[in-house]
């Protein structure tokens, strides 16, 4: 393959611009390889996050030709190389520098979600029993590598900046994993409804589309939780029951 032009975003929170770099593209190369090559050849201070280079750690999230992707899993062969390849940082978070964003908001959100609270152990030796089918259901969400591409693409965060009142698809799925955990006894529905802004999601499924782990966020996590909230708080018969039920 020939030399390819990359338009890479260079800048910080005060502003920036696309800068052109040329580098050789060889067989099997991914976009992250190109970024590393550019670093080594012409821009040693080009800021970029990465770790595993195998789609397992979720560090190298960026927007390649406008699409939210992991750079390590985006093969050059799948991109048109007769025109420049653009690489820019995620848009839903404040920029630190070049391709690196400040994603600390995500880490703060997680600490606010009620932690795992298991039922009493099933066996005398302090262990539990679970069936594989129940395990499979939550394992889908536990596959999440926390790349935050779903957060990046969610219009509630990206366009409407509701970071204060909406936790985003990643943490709805995180809550779903806890709520559907076979051993968990905690109740997070009130938080989901009130503080976590579950109602903001209008199921456009953008998050599902960009998930590199192919987690069906909308269908398997968000919609079932919306249903649970509706059942719990908006079902008229249940509401009637609640009026007479003694408070916990």
């Amino acid at each position: 393959m020939p030399q390819v032009t990359f338009k890479v975003w260079r800048g910080n929170k005060d502003g920036g611009q696309f800068t052109d770099y040329q580098t050789d593209v060889t067989e099997g190369m991914v976009v992250l390889d190109a970024v590393h090559q550019i670093q080594a050849e012409s821009a040693p201070d080009l800021a970029c996050r990465w770790n595993c280079k195998a789609g397992k750690c979720g560090s190298c999230s960026a927007e390649v030709n406008g699409m939210p992707r992991l750079m390590c899993m985006t093969r050059m062969e799948d991109l048109p190389t007769d025109q420049p390849v653009t690489i820019e940082p995620m848009q839903a978070f404040p920029l630190i520098r070049d391709l690196v964003c400040d994603v600390s908001w995500n880490f703060e959100i997680k600490t606010k979600i009620k932690k795992f609270k298991p039922r009493k152990p099933d066996a005398e030796d302090g262990t539990w029993r679970m069936v594989q089918d129940d395990v499979d259901r939550v394992q889908e969400f536990r596959k999440c590598i926390e790349c935050f591409l779903c957060q990046n693409v969610c219009h509630v965060l990206r366009d409407h900046h509701k970071h204060e009142t909406f936790i985003g698809p990643r943490f709805i799925a995180y809550t779903a994993a806890l709520e559907m955990h076979p051993l968990d006894t905690e109740d997070r529905l009130a938080d989901l409804k009130d503080d976590n802004g579950l109602g903001y999601c209008n199921i456009t499924k953008c998050c599902t589309k960009v998930c590199p782990e192919h987690i069906t966020l909308t269908d398997n996590a968000i919609i079932p939780l919306k249903e649970r909230v509706v059942d719990e708080y908006y079902d008229p018969i249940k509401k009637l029951f609640r009026m007479f039920k003694p408070k916990k």
Binding site: N12, T26, E27, G28, M29, V30, D33, Q39, A40, P44, D45, L46, A47, C48, R49, W50, N51, C52, K53, A54, G55, K56, C57, G58, S59, M73, R75, I96, R97, D98, V100, D102, V103, S104, F107, K110, T111, K115, F116, P118, P121, G126, T127, W128, R129, M130, V131, Q132, V135, V138, Q139, R142, K143, I145, E146, L178, H181, P182, L183, D184
Partner: protein, 604 residues
């Protein structure tokens, strides 16, 4: 003195993979203040890459398993250079640590009766690895992370430690920079736990990310700690070899645990050709028996693909060298063949090895349910590291503890797959526990301003190198090629001597590694600073490898191809001499306790 941001903790944990997180959880749960430093973001450390599972003698799948068998397997795998007390503690405590993860929310695969499922792995006599498909490490790190964030641990993300701060012979803190703005930070601590992982970036072909530059080992060395067994570097037999950009990325041993076979260009299962004496009684000599083992027949012996990693890697190198390799210089690993035995092989493979399926499909355009993979050895793990006390995990420096890959002793000359994840939680907990005890018994030390100023100046030097400035990426990349060539899978005296000569030149070149004057998130600067640690661990490895004149475990000498009984009694210990030069000493392995010797004998 210049002013720096300062944080003060009772216990400071450096490194936030499995071992660091487990240590921090232990410390913060014991009534002391705890700071946790991550070189990357929280949850991205290399633990996340671990695939196959976590070894613990739960006996859920085969009730013949027990801690004593696990102990004997670990010692045999390590060719008896292991710290036997660590191997004993590890085997005894790992089941509790695995169950504890479940209590904290981990969701592992199940047996039919609802217990934690266990799988076969190289060198383990019984199915022993608790797992989640082939993403066990992600499950472990996420469980520890999500539990830890509710414990009051103060997490410092994207912070790199440059030097340990000393008072007399004791550790009293650490000097670091944060990536975001390149500002320096002084951490004061009564006790420090090193949990920084490996040294894989010293080699060209590696499964390790940019972080693994031997920081923990090198910082401890500079602080006066002993390093031990540094010649033993595990080259995992199965890394990807094609396309070039993914060369070195790990292919889990779980592929072989699920029945994957290794073949050469002639289609021959070459692993049957060379079965070491210590394993002949437990290894099948025909394909039919091997398959029965994989499918759970307790009377069958395991297939030769599940021999220890050092041996499998050597056999692969032999096949390639003798011209029977695959088109891109590896051999074939075939899991698709199980369709001969299983009806829905495709579904089975996708269920058991989902991320391997994903990895090959997306990075190599290859469907592993239909075609064999091309694989070859990749630098994976260092058995050697900081010498620690088995019970407390304290190094030879007071107040400095170590756990996980950067500590040494448990694995001896070769680590068994699955023993790393259990190592992290068993000894992470111990390090946290004893660091806490130390912090409670000792008052805070005094930070030496001269040391702080000196190291701050050193860290800023790459911004102002003058005429002889050199690109740090070039130096690092050249070093990796040199180490791969001369201190790699097979070694000999001439090349090791050459490597030591080369390393002196690299030390000089590192003095000229330069960076653009920009402190914000500048990878060039960080790479320039990492070179020092990389050079320290490279030298420790080369010197130790030169001194061990035998082939044992992961250390293979062309000029000394056999085991030597005298060498078997010694560990190599590296430390910084009074003149600043690296010293190496041979230390006899303490005689093993009688009851443990008997367990080994009974399991032979």
């Amino acid at each position: 003195m210049r002013e720096f941001t300062t944080h003060e903790y009772d216990v400071l944990v450096i490194g936030a993979g499995g071992a660091g997180l487990r240590a921090a959880i232990e410390a913060s749960g014991s009534g002391v203040t705890c700071g946790l430093i991550c070189k990357s973001l929280l949850g991205k450390a290399h633990t996340v890459m671990a695939e196959g599972g976590m070894a613990a003698a739960l006996g859920n799948v085969d009730d013949r398993d027990s801690w004593s068998t696990h102990f004997a397997d670990t010692m045999r795998g390590g060719q008896y250079l292991n710290n036997w007390r660590m191997a004993e503690l590890h085997a005894k405590e790992s089941p509790d640590r695995v169950n504890e993860l479940e209590a904290w929310g981990a969701v592992m695969d199940r047996t039919k009766d609802g217990k934690i499922l266990q799988r076969n792995f190289g060198g383990h006599k019984y199915p022993r690895l608790a797992h989640v498909g082939d993403r066990t490490g992600l499950e472990m790190i996420r469980t520890l992370q999500d539990h830890g964030i509710h414990q009051g641990i103060k997490v410092h993300m994207e912070v790199t430690v440059v030097e340990l701060l000393m008072e007399g012979g004791r550790v009293v803190g650490a000097f670091a920079y944060e990536r975001e703005h390149g500002r320096f930070i002084v951490f004061k601590a009564k006790a420090v736990v090193m949990a920084t992982g490996g040294i894989g970036r010293a080699f060209k072909i590696t499964s390790n990310s940019w972080e693994y530059t031997g920081d923990g080992q090198a910082l401890a060395y500079e602080a006066g700690a002993d390093l031990i067994d540094m010649e033993f570097i595990q080259f995992h037999p199965t890394g990807m070899v094609w396309p070039p950009s993914v060369r070195g990325i790990l292919v889990t041993e779980g592929v072989r645990g699920e029945g994957g076979i290794l073949t050469n260009s002639e289609g021959r299962r070459f692993m049957f050709d060379d079965i070491p004496d210590a394993y002949t009684s437990s290894t099948s000599d025909n394909e039919e028996e091997g398959w029965r083992y994989v499918t759970g027949d307790k009377s069958a012996r395991r297939p030769p693909e599940l021999l220890t990693r050092d041996h499998v890697a050597r056999c692969i190198v032999r096949e390639v060298k003798e011209g029977r390799g695959s088109p891109h210089g590896g051999v074939f690993l075939d899991i698709a063949w199980i369709k001969e035995h299983i009806k829905d092989a495709e579904g089975h493979i996708k269920k058991k090895l989902p991320s391997m399926y994903h990895q090959f499909k997306e990075l190599a355009g290859l469907d592993i349910t239909k075609e064999p993979m091309e694989i070859g050895p990749t630098t994976h793990y260092v058995m050697g590291g900081i010498r620690v006390d088995a019970e407390t995990q304290m190094s030879t420096v007071p107040g400095l503890f170590a756990a996980g890959e950067c500590a040494a002793g448990l694995h001896g000359a070769n680590r068994l797959g699955g023993n790393s994840l259990s190592d992290l939680v068993v000894f992470g907990k111990r390090a946290g526990e004893y660091a806490t005890k130390y912090a409670k018994e000792n008052s805070a030390g005094q930070i030496n301003n001269d040391q702080v100023n000196k190291i701050a100046n050193w860290a800023e030097a790459p911004f102002d190198r003058g005429d002889k400035a050199e690109n740090p990426f070039t130096i690092q990349s050249d070093l990796q090629v040199m180490m791969q060539d001369k201190v790699g899978i097979v070694r000999e005296e001439n090349e090791l001597n050459e490597a030591l000569g080369e390393l002196e030149k690299y030390k000089a070149r590192a003095e000229h590694a330069s960076a653009d004057v920009n402190r914000d998130y500048n990878p060039g600067w960080h790479t320039a600073l990492d070179l020092k640690n990389l050079l320290t661990v490279s030298e420790a490895t080369a010197r130790s490898a030169l001194l061990r004149k035998e082939s044992r475990g992961a250390h293979t000498r062309l000029d000394h191809p056999d085991k030597d009984e005298q060498e078997a009694k010694l560990n190599n210990v590296v430390r910084k001499g009074p003149d600043g030069a690296m010293q190496i000493e041979r230390v006899p392995i303490p005689p093993i306790r009688e009851d443990l010797a008997q367990i080994i004998e009974e399991n032979k």
